[in-house]
């Protein structure tokens, strides 16, 4: 039985449902309900509920549709529920929930349509609404785009409040006391005489009463947890080696497998000879899969060794073999026919540059980059006659379910996904090739669970990298001010590449091509942003901050060049050009934090500032560098970000620092290059990221002026490399327009 509440002003329907031994609270879906993953016994046509909170004999459980990739999402979500339910954080169990279309992600949709994040007008909300409806119908259940916090912030608190008030109504019916005389405390409804009815004992009755949906959320001044430092629920397990990741899992009767795929990403397997491998200890079978072979053994290391002993004849790469050709394709993309979209065109850039006495011109480059989270991709798949089980850590469980069903030849409902704790993602687990290959192997071994683990080398070679990109800027200055700014960015479409692997064709322009550049809140008399699409390059995927990861560097560094040409102060001129009040406050804040007095601090010290608005978050960073006799040292980074509300200051600081380190490390030290169609970097010796000795002090401040609560996993990334390049220019006069910066600078 399920009960529908009334339509709320938030335009979603909340309600309750009876479940075994208790009650669930959650949301009915817009327009038509999606099937409910937890209620298999619903009659045809009966409304179903997407549960967010479950109360039964085990206590209170948060059923979260979002994957925790290490960003602490589970704990923040638990706090949102606990706050309204008057329970402690340690009284909330977390269940990642089965894949379900009802868990659509509205915050992610908001970023996929071309409306500036600074634009809150009626038109903007209408356009965002369209994309929102598309996402709902597509049943997208995805973790990404820094969207977990904005998506959960209202829904989870509201679900918690409805649960609380409904439990009170149930207690009122049981005791005959009016609701106004009841209160809640520590997981129980408290009666006027001080006696307590626990939520657990009220759960079954709460499922029978009409849910109370007209509820008031707790005002922020009564919050006990939100905004305070919280201990992450997984912190003890992760500090004692007892956390279990997908790669640690063992299923009864499983075999160990690894894979060897064409090192030219997406190329074919022509022929192979596994004679030697099959004679090695513990090796059971070598099975062809799409683009390569899988090795089945009794131990991962034996499988790795055997895979190295196989001789292969590989097909060619389905993209240019060498980097010169990749860069040439980008360079040639700057033409009218390859315009993806011209998203900003203010004033008259062409005329302004024609009449300028001097035109500043520059070309920028950003390389392919691997995600390379520390846990290599892995999956366990077991194919039984009546059901298929998949154990893996994924951000796209719905796609995994459909893809495995297709490979094995069963209905999606027969595929059961058990989502696992993941050792990092950064976008890597938005792809599911590992699960597809594991499904191919498991199909060949019915009844046997196959645990597929990629070696680090196979993982890095077959990482769908961050886009390669090139930008060309032309600009001019007048009377000490930036007068004209014209930027073109050329790259492949990450959205088209990524969704093509899910069988989806994405028509129209790709916002990511110019994301992080076209919507910056600056007012320049003549200002134009054009995206160019370069097709036919290596397949790519979303990488922490996506299009903005390259474009934030391009846009801000070229702005820095123009400000320098104007003879203005880098900080003061950005503040003067910024028309968006929250963004301006971010710049003012980072100016104060860093004690900004100009780009030179002393004879051998300099600083640079950069700003990028991405995923709705205005973020500014100041990087301070010192010239030592062994190279450039990064001393300190100051970061200010406007996120609406900081839900947990410790997690917030950790996320921002991690984003800065991610941005700096890759901008300084990393690239993926192809030679003979093969990625040349296959392990961390050639792809070091940032290590502790290069890590600066990172001082973080969150601003809470906006009315929207925003996620901060990605926004600190784009300004980091730009602020560093600008700081190096301030100190040395050397303008580096190409990442990684260590091609031109020695860092210590």
């Amino acid at each position: 039985m399920s009960r529908l509440g009334k339509i709320t002003r938030r335009t979603f329907l909340i309600g309750s449902a009876t479940i075994a031994g208790g009650v669930a609270f959650g949301y009915y879906m817009y327009r038509r309900p999606h099937e409910n993953p937890l209620l298999d016994d619903l009659a045809e046509g009966e409304a179903a509920l997407t549960p967010y909170v479950k109360i039964d004999a085990e206590g209170v459980t948060l059923i979260t549709p979002r994957t925790d990739l290490g960003q602490g999402a589970y704990s923040v979500q638990a706090a949102l529920i606990a706050e309204e339910l008057d329970i402690g954080l340690d009284q909330v169990r977390v269940d990642p929930g089965p894949p379900a279309p009802a868990y659509y992600n509205t915050a992610l949709a908001a970023e996929s349509v071309p409306v500036r994040s600074t634009n809150d007008g009626a038109m903007a909300n209408t356009v965002r609404g369209v994309a929102d409806a598309v996402m709902k119908f597509a049943g997208v259940h995805v973790t990404g785009g820094s969207s977990t916090v904005p998506d959960s912030y209202e829904k989870l608190r509201y679900a918690g409040a409805v649960a609380r008030e409904t439990l009170k109504r149930a207690a009122s019916e049981r005791t005959g006391l009016p609701v106004s005389r009841l209160k809640t405390e520590q997981g129980a409804v408290v009666l006027p005489d001080g006696s307590r009815l626990s939520y657990v004992e009220l759960a079954a009755q709460a499922a029978q009463v009409e849910p109370v949906t007209d509820v008031e959320l707790r005002p922020p001044n009564l919050w006990r947890m939100i905004g305070q430092p919280m201990q992450r629920h997984d912190i003890v397990a992760k500090s004692t080696g007892t956390a279990v990741y997908g790669i640690d899992l063992a299923v009864e009767g499983m075999v160990h497998a690894t894979i060897k795929l064409n090192p030219r990403q997406g190329g074919s397997l022509q022929d192979y000879d596994a004679t030697e491998a099959l004679a090695m200890r513990g090796v059971q079978q070598v099975i062809p899969v799409t683009g390569g072979v899988g090795v089945i053994a009794d131990n991962t290391w034996r499988a790795f060794k055997a895979a190295e002993a196989i001789r292969f004849d590989w097909g060619p790469a389905p993209y240019p073999n060498d980097m010169d050709e990749h860069w040439a394709a980008l360079s040639n993309a700057f033409n009218e026919d390859q315009i993806d979209a011209r998203r900003r065109d203010e004033g008259n850039v062409v005329e302004a540059l024609d009449r300028a006495s001097e035109v500043v011109e520059a070309e920028y480059r950003a390389p392919y980059l691997a995600h390379a989270p520390l846990e290599p991709i892995n999956a366990i798949v077991r194919v039984n006659p009546d059901r298929v089980d998949v154990w893996t850590g994924t951000q796209i469980p719905r796609f995994v379910q459909a893809n495995v069903a297709k490979i094995v030849g069963v209905d999606s409902e027969q595929v059961h996904i058990h989502n696992q704790m993941v050792g990092g993602s950064f976008g890597h687990r938005l792809e599911d090739e590992v699960v597809k290959r594991a499904a191919e192997l498991a199909k060949a071994l019915p009844g046997t669970p196959v645990k597929l683990v990629y070696s680090r080398e196979e993982d890095m070679r077959h990482d769908f990298p961050r886009q390669i990109a090139m930008a060309r800027g032309r600009g001019s200055v007048r009377d000490g001010r930036v007068e004209a700014y014209d930027l073109g960015v050329a790259m492949p479409s990450v959205t088209a590449s990524q969704l093509s692997r899910q069988g989806l064709n994405v028509p129209g322009p790709d916002l990511q091509i110019i994301a992080g550049a076209w919507d910056q809140p600056f007012s320049i008399p003549h200002y134009r942003m054009t995206g160019y699409r370069a097709d036919g390059l290596a397949p790519i995927s979303s990488w922490r901050s996506v299009g903005a990861s390259s474009n934030g560097f391009f846009h801000d560094c070229f702005l820095d060049e123009l400000i320098h040409a104007a003879g203005a102060d880098p900080m003061e001129e950005r503040i003067r050009l910024c028309w968006h009040e929250p963004s301006r406050q971010v710049l003012e804040t980072v100016k104060a934090m860093s004690g900004w007095t100009g780009p030179r601090i002393s004879e051998n010290r300099g600083r640079g500032v950069a700003f990028c608005l991405s995923f709705g978050v205005a973020c500014a960073e100041v990087v301070e560098v010192t010239q030592t006799d062994r190279g450039i040292r990064i001393d300190t980074v100051y970061v200010a970000a406007e996120v609406g509300r900081v839900l947990d200051p410790i997690n917030f600081e950790n996320q921002v620092q991690g984003g800065v380190i991610w941005g700096l490390g890759h901008a300084m030290n990393c690239e993926i290059t192809y030679a003979d169609g093969q990625a040349e970097q296959t392990n961390y010796h050639a792809y070091p990221g940032l290590r502790l000795y290069q890590t600066p002090d990172i001082v973080v401040q969150g601003l809470e002026n906006g009315d929207k609560v925003l996620g901060v996993g990605e926004p600190p990334v784009p300004p980091a490399g730009a602020a560093l390049a600008n700081a190096i220019f301030a100190l040395t006069g050397q303008r580096i327009r190409e990442m990684p910066l260590n091609k031109h600078i020695r860092f210590v």
Binding site: S239, R281, S425, L692, T695
Partner: protein, 161 residues
Amino acid sequence: MRQWGEAMNITVNGQVHTVDVEPEMPLLWVLRDELGITGPRYGCGISMCGACTVHVNGLAVRSCSLPVGDVTGPVTTIEGLGTPESLHAVQEAWIEHQVAQCGYCQSGQIMSAASFLMTNPNPSDEAIDQALSANLCRCGTYPRIRQAVKTASAKLRGDAS
């Protein structure tokens, strides 16, 4: 029947195990796949990331690159350093500072830090940077690792409660 190898004894976290594996099999894979001890993680297989760090004879080693046949003394993994019920000082510090994000590298970070502090109980900032730079963290928890090592150092020296 082919004779693949000889059974050998290996002591892990105070317990003696008999394993029948090739002597060249890295200790990491004996721990993970033969003994089911999964706290030491696989990250790179070439001693570049440190996620597999364990102690042999009390010193930090990269178990992904140490053949089990070359193990000459007792092995301690993160599970043997301390437990959720009885934490090692380094683990206490890691929890206090909420170091972990994804957490995958942290077994190795903690084992490296514990070994380092045994030989260098009161390290300078520079020594901490140098010692822990051999352990990679992709999430970027380094600022908290620095703080946690200092806190752990104080705890081990008895300066803190």
